[in-house]
C-alpha cells in the first residue's frame, strides 16, 4: 500500500516536472539564451523538439545555440533543417553562411543549368506556405475571371477576362507546384551533415575499403543508397563514396 502511494506521488512529481508546456519552455529557453546561458537554453529547445514539435524558429534557435557552444556541425544541421521549412528566411541564410565559414571543407559545386537555377531561386524566394497562399489566391482569381468571361456584359471585358483567367490558372498551378515541391523535399530526407571532426569516405561499404577522401565537420552530403550501417554519398562536386552512418546526421 505504502509503495503504491509512493509510486503515485512519484508519478505526480514526474508529470508536474514534465508539465511545462512547449510555450513555457520556449519562453524560458529564449530567456536563458538572452542571458548567454547557451547550454541551458539548448536543453530547453531540445526538450521542445523531443516532444515532437517543430518549427522554423525552433530549428533556427537550436542552430544559434549550437553555434554559440562551438558545435559547428550541429549548428549547420539545424540551420539546414530550418531552411527546409523556409528557404527564404534572411536571418537563417546569414547565420548559415557564417557557420559554414567555420567548416573546413571547401567543395566546388558543379554549376546547374542556368534556367534551373533561376527557377530554384524563384521557388526559394518564398516559403511553401506563402506559395500555397498564392496558389489559393490565384485560383480564386481564376474563378472570378471565368465568371466574368461567361457573364460579362461587353465582349471586350469577356475577352480580357478569358486571357487573364488562363494566366491566373497557370500562375496558380505554378505556385501550387512550388509549394508541393518544397514539401516533398522536406519529406525526402536525402541530405546529411558530417558530424565527426574527421571522417573517412571509403570506396566500399566496409572498413577495408580504400580511403577516397577525408571530410570534416559541417560538410553537406547527398545520400544515394544505404547498405547496413554504410551510406553511399555524393558531394556537391560530384564525387561519391561510402561513409559510416555514425559519422553523419540526416537533415
Amino acid at each position: 500500500m505504502k509503495r503504491a502511494i509512493f509510486l503515485f506521488y512519484f508519478c505526480v512529481v514526474l508529470s508536474s516536472m514534465n508539465a511545462q508546456t512547449p510555450k513555457e519552455l520556449w519562453a524560458s529557453a529564449n530567456n536563458l539564451y538572452s542571458k548567454a546561458q547557451y547550454a541551458d537554453a539548448l536543453q530547453g529547445y531540445l526538450k521542445i523538439e523531443e516532444s515532437g514539435y517543430a518549427s522554423e524558429s525552433l530549428f533556427y534557435n537550436l542552430g544559434n545555440c549550437y553555434f554559440k557552444l562551438n558545435e559547428i556541425g550541429k549548428s549547420i544541421l539545424y540551420y539546414e533543417k530550418a531552411l527546409k521549412l523556409n528557404p527564404s528566411n534572411e536571418d537563417l541564410l546569414n547565420n548559415l553562411s557564417l557557420a559554414k565559414d567555420f567548416s573546413l571543407d571547401k567543395i566546388e559545386e558543379v554549376p546547374d543549368f542556368i534556367l534551373k537555377t533561376w527557377i530554384e531561386n524563384i521557388n526559394y524566394s518564398f516559403s511553401s506556405d506563402t506559395w500555397s497562399y498564392f496558389a489559393l489566391i490565384f485560383f480564386a482569381a481564376t474563378a472570378f475571371l471565368l465568371l466574368n468571361f461567361r457573364f460579362g456584359s461587353s465582349s471586350r471585358l469577356r475577352k480580357i477576362s478569358f486571357f487573364l483567367a488562363i494566366a491566373s490558372v497557370l500562375l496558380g498551378l505554378l505556385a501550387g507546384y512550388f509549394s508541393l515541391i518544397q514539401r516533398y523535399r522536406y519529406t525526402l530526407k536525402n541530405t546529411a551533415i558530417v558530424m565527426k571532426p574527421v571522417s573517412t569516405v571509403r570506396s566500399s561499404p566496409d572498413d577495408s575499403g580504400k580511403s577516397l577522401f577525408i571530410l570534416h565537420e559541417g560538410t553537406k552530403l547527398e545520400l544515394l543508397e544505404e547498405i547496413g550501417d554504410w551510406k553511399r554519398i555524393e558531394l556537391a562536386d560530384g564525387r561519391q563514396g561510402w561513409i559510416t552512418s555514425l559519422d553523419i546526421e540526416v537533415i
Binding site: 512547449p22 514539435y53 557564417l98
Partner: protein, 605 residues
C-alpha cells in the same frame, strides 16, 4: 701555515679583498671562516676603510687568542683610463683557536672613525670535531699525491624547491666543494635548462671560497653560478648534469721529511686534471589547477595591481595613457599585458612595457608597468575598465583576481586647428565608413514559435484542401445561379411574345377569316376596325376621337420606337385607302395581314 694557504688562494683567484674594500666611507667589517676544526688555529680580521681613532675589540669567549691584534695598513691607488681611485684599509688580525666543539658567536667590535662610531656584525663560528683533514690543512691534502679522490673535490646543484607549480620561480645554485687547491677550470659545461625559462642571477667573476661543512667534513665551497628558473612545462623536468675539468695543484711526490715554513715556496708542484660532475636533478612541476579565470595572464606568485590614467580630462584626438602597474614577487617578467577593452572609438597603440624587476635568491620581484597609449577620437564621458588581472597565488594555492575600479575619462570637444579657423565655419567632418568590428550570428527568433506537431506544411493540409473546395464550389454555385437567372429572363420575354401574338391573333381573327374567303372590302374594313380598336384599348382613348395624329402623339408619350409608329400610321392609311379602292389582286392582302400581326405583337412586347 694557514696564512700561507690563504695567501696562495688569494694569488690564484685574484684580489678579492680589494674588491670588497671598495666601499663607501666609514665601513667596518669582520671576516673569519664559518667552520673550523677543534684543534685548528684560524684568523679573524676586522677591516676598516679609514684610519680609526680607537678600536674596541670584542670578548672572544670560547676561543683562545693565540696572537693579535696585529694591525696592518694597506693603501692602493689605481688609475684606469685616467680615472683615479684610491683605497685605504686598516685591518686588525687575531689568530684564534677554539676551546671546544659547538657554535660560538663573537660579538660585534666597534671603532671610531672621524668621530663616528661603527660596529661590525656579530659572527657565528661553528667548531666541529676535526679529522685532521680540513680544507685549509694543506699539509694533509698535499700529501694526497697523485690521485685526488671524489671526496676531495665535487660539484653540486642545489635547488630552492623540489616541487613547484608551472610558472613558479625557483633558484638553482651550482656550487663547488673542495679540499685541495685549484689552479683553474677547463671545459666548463653548465647545464641547459630544458623546459625552463632560465636566467643567471649570479655570475661571480671572482670565485669566493667560504668554508662549509658537508657530512661533518670541512670544505671550501664557492658558488659558480646561480640561476633563476621558471618552469614552462609540467611533469618531472630533468636538469642535466654539469661538468668541468679542474686543474688541481698537488705536491710532486719527490721530497719528504720535515720542512720549514719557507720550504714550501721551493717545493715543486704538479698540476693534475680532474673531471668533476654535478649530478643531474629532477624537479617535479605540477600543472596549474584548472579553472583559470579568463583574465589570467600567466602570473604565479604574489602580486598587487593598480591602474590609472595619465590624465582624467583630455580633448578629443589628444593622447592619453592608461598605466597598469603590477608589483610583487614571482615570475613578474613573464606576465603578459592584461587585456583591456577600450571603447570602439578609441585608437589604441602598442603596449609599452617597462620591467623594473630584480632577481634575488627568492625569485624575481619588482614592478612591471604596462602603458597603453590611447587617443580618443570622439568626445564624451567614457568609463574604462575595470582592469582585471588574475594570477595564481602560491601561498594560498588558488587563482586570485585583482580588479581596479572604474576609470573615468572625460573627453572634451576637439579644439582642432588654430584660432583663425575656429572663428569661421568648419568644413564638416571626415566621413567614416561604419566598420564591422566582428561577425556574429544574428539573434534568435523570440516572437511566436509557430510550433506544430506532425505536418509542417499548409499546402497539403486539410485547411488547404477545404479552401480549394470552397473556391471551386463557390465558382459552380455562382455560375449556375447566374445562368439560371438569364434563363428565367429569357422565359419572361417568350411569355410576353406569346401573349402579344395571342392578342394580335384574337383581334385579327375576323380579318383572317375574310382573308381566307378573299373578301377584299370586308377584309380591309375589319383590319382597320381591329387596329383602331387595339389602339383605343392600348392607349385608353375613346374610339370616337381616334385620329392618326392622336395615336402618334400618345405613342410618342409611351416612348414607342418611331419606326414602329410610322409603320402603324402607314398601315392605317393603307387600310383606309383600300376600303374605297378596287382590289389590286395578288398577295397585297396577305402582306398587310402579317404586317398588322407583327405590329401588334411588337407593340405588346
Amino acid at each position: 701555515m694557514i696564512g700561507m694557504y690563504l695567501k696562495r688562494v688569494m694569488l690564484l683567484l685574484g684580489s678579492v679583498v680589494i674588491s670588497i674594500a671598495c666601499m663607501a666611507q666609514g665601513a667596518f667589517t669582520v671576516d673569519a671562516p664559518r667552520v673550523v676544526e677543534l684543534d685548528e688555529s684560524f684568523r679573524l680580521v676586522f677591516t676598516a676603510n679609514s684610519e680609526p681613532t680607537s678600536f674596541n675589540p670584542p670578548a672572544f669567549s670560547g676561543f683562545d687568542v693565540l696572537a693579535g691584534p696585529s694591525a696592518s695598513t694597506m693603501s692602493s691607488t689605481q688609475i684606469i683610463n685616467g680615472k683615479r681611485t684610491e683605497s685605504f684599509q686598516v685591518s686588525y688580525t687575531y689568530v684564534l683557536q677554539p676551546k671546544s666543539v659547538g657554535k660560538f658567536t663573537i660579538p660585534a667590535a666597534s671603532v671610531v672613525i672621524g668621530g663616528k662610531g661603527y660596529t661590525s656584525n656579530p659572527i657565528t663560528i661553528e667548531v666541529v670535531k676535526g679529522d685532521g683533514n680540513a680544507a685549509g690543512n694543506s699539509e694533509r691534502s698535499a700529501q694526497a699525491t697523485g690521485n685526488v679522490s671524489g671526496d676531495d673535490i665535487f660539484m653540486r646543484m642545489g635547488i630552492s624547491k623540489g616541487r613547484v607549480v608551472k610558472g613558479e620561480s625557483l633558484v638553482a645554485t651550482l656550487k663547488i666543494y673542495t679540499k685541495v687547491p685549484i689552479a683553474g677550470f677547463e671545459n666548463v659545461k653548465f647545464p641547459t635548462f630544458n623546459g625552463f625559462w632560465s636566467q643567471e642571477i649570479e655570475t661571480p667573476s671572482n670565485i669566493e671560497f667560504v668554508r662549509e661543512t658537508v657530512n661533518g667534513k670541512i670544505y671550501d665551497a664557492a658558488v659558480l653560478r646561480r640561476y633563476m628558473l621558471v618552469p614552462q612545462q609540467t611533469g618531472s623536468l630533468a636538469v642535466e648534469p654539469s661538468e668541468m675539468i679542474c686543474l688541481i695543484q698537488i705536491k710532486s711526490p719527490a721530497g719528504g721529511g720535515q720542512r720549514s715554513v719557507f720550504d714550501d715556496f721551493f717545493e715543486s708542484y704538479q698540476t693534475v686534471k680532474k673531471r668533476i660532475t654535478a649530478p643531474g636533478i629532477h624537479i617535479m612541476v605540477d600543472a596549474l589547477p584548472p579553472g583559470a579565470p579568463a583574465t589570467f595572464a600567466g602570473g604565479v606568485g604574489d602580486f598587487k595591481m593598480s591602474a590609472k590614467l595619465s590624465r582624467d580630462t583630455v580633448q578629443a584626438n589628444e593622447a592619453v595613457s592608461l598605466i597598469v602597474t603590477i608589483s610583487g614577487t614571482g615570475n613578474i617578467n613573464l606576465i603578459e599585458a592584461p587585456k583591456i577593452e577600450f571603447p570602439a572609438d578609441f585608437e589604441v597603440y602598442d603596449v609599452k612595457i617597462s620591467d623594473k624587476s630584480s632577481k634575488t635568491n627568492k625569485g624575481a620581484s619588482g614592478i612591471k608597468e604596462f602603458e597603453f597609449p590611447i587617443i580618443p577620437r570622439g568626445s564624451g564621458h567614457f568609463v574604462l575598465g575595470p582592469v582585471r588581472f588574475s594570477y595564481y597565488d602560491i601561498s594560498s594555492r588558488k587563482y586570485l583576481t585583482l580588479s581596479s575600479g572604474d576609470l573615468e575619462l572625460k573627453v572634451g570637444k576637439d579644439k582642432g586647428g588654430n584660432s583663425g579657423m575656429s572663428s569661421s565655419l568648419s568644413l564638416g567632418v571626415n566621413k567614416q565608413a561604419v566598420k564591422s568590428l566582428t561577425n556574429d550570428i544574428r539573434y534568435i527568433h523570440t516572437g511566436l514559435s509557430h510550433l506544430k506537431r506532425g505536418n509542417q506544411f499548409f499546402v497539403a493540409s486539410f485547411t488547404f484542401y477545404a479552401l480549394l473546395a470552397i473556391i471551386i464550389s463557390l465558382f459552380f454555385i455562382t455560375n449556375s445561379f447566374l445562368s439560371k437567372r438569364i434563363e428565367r429572363n429569357r422565359d419572361i420575354a417568350g411569355v410576353k411574345n406569346r401573349r402579344a401574338n395571342k392578342v394580335a391573333r384574337a383581334r385579327l381573327k375576323t380579318a383572317e377569316s375574310f382573308l381566307k374567303q378573299k373578301l377584299y372590302t370586308g377584309f380591309y374594313e375589319e383590319l382597320h376596325r381591329a387596329i383602331l380598336g387595339y389602339c383605343s384599348d392600348k392607349l385608353a382613348l375613346p374610339l370616337s376621337d381616334l385620329s392618326r395624329e392622336k395615336i402618334a402623339e400618345s405613342l410618342i408619350k409611351k416612348s414607342v420606337k418611331p419606326d414602329l409608329i410610322q409603320e402603324l400610321l402607314s398601315l392605317i392609311e393603307a387600310c383606309e385607302y383600300a376600303r374605297y379602292a378596287p382590289d389590286p389582286g395578288g398577295v397585297e392582302m396577305d402582306k398587310n395581314y402579317s404586317r398588322a400581326m407583327r405590329l401588334i405583337s411588337d407593340l405588346e412586347v
